[in-house]
Symmetry: C2
Subunit: 177 residues, 2 copies
């Protein structure tokens, strides 16, 4: 898939050529070039989120649910490294065009994590004094950062293998008790 810069440098004609269709065909489906980016983003986000939700629903307790979510997240971005590049670039550049989509996708993710944390508090496995709205952002931020480190290191190691170490840091923290 296109990295953002490449996408912005290419013309609709080039995109049509890559897709193996006529220029006019592109305009049957998309208003303009920006619309291609927005619609692609929405399409992939929905796909990926359906898979996140499925993983979480079939896991048992809250720790397992968090582990399944993080693992599937890392697996999906590892499988589609170009999506990871596009997502990170869009998220951290705060582009007006796609701001609302990014906000919506983040909200979906934060909602899932929030549900898991509340369930954990009910079960007694998560701290009752957690400030959920901060803790869920903390978790998303740490996972995003693990993906970004992997991208910057040239995608050279198994990203999904970071699941257990991350879950361990989330749950137990770095402090010795």
């Amino acid at each position: 898939m296109f990295a953002r810069q490449g996408f912005y440098q290419s013309t609709v004609s080039q995109i049509a050529r890559e897709a193996g269709v006529a220029d006019g065909t592109i305009y049957l489906y998309f208003k303009n070039k920006d619309d291609i980016l927005v619609q692609f983003f929405n399409f992939r986000a929905k796909q990926v989120f359906a898979s996140f939700r499925q993983e979480v629903d079939k896991s048992g307790n809250s720790t397992d649910k968090l582990r399944s979510l993080v693992r599937r997240h890392l697996e999906e971005f590892q499988r589609d490294g170009d999506m990871a590049v596009v997502y990170q670039a869009l998220t951290y550049q705060n582009i007006d065009l796609i701001k609302d989509q990014i906000k919506e996708v983040s909200k979906m993710y934060l909602d899932i994590v929030g549900e898991i944390l509340e369930k954990g508090q009910e079960e007694g496995t998560m701290r009752k004094d957690l400030y959920i709205s901060l803790a869920k952002r903390f978790i998303l931020g740490a996972v995003d950062s693990a993906i970004n480190n992997w991208l910057r290191a040239g995608r050279k190691y198994d990203l999904a293998s970071m699941t257990e170490p991350l879950i361990d840091l989330f749950i137990r923290g770095i402090g010795n008790r």
Copy 2:
């Protein structure tokens, strides 16, 4: 200070005008426009890091050192929100021009955090079974993400007030013991 896009859209003449000097003067100090960005980045990074190091050195135990580092980090970015925008954009876009500088700055930060964690292990306040190279990236990622959330929320709340909640999540984690 310039946000990246504005910087790239402006000419050397415009930069000279903003700085109140003649175009030729700019070329006495900088090879070209990109060189201005790189040199500015290096200059600010050195300033900010000297202040990080000072804060950490004057704090007592490892938990206090970590708290001082995170607080100063959040304070510096809050004080200079445009620097925060430039830093986040540069870091997450993986621009070749400034890749080495970003790597060097991250390494300086990770080195400080690594030292603090090792000291904590010696003191017995941090877990002995921590995988330091992961834990330090985890901490930088979580702080970066707190800064990014603040930027995206329109810089509307006191960023430095996130220090204690972040330190609490780092040290104690989300799990109930």
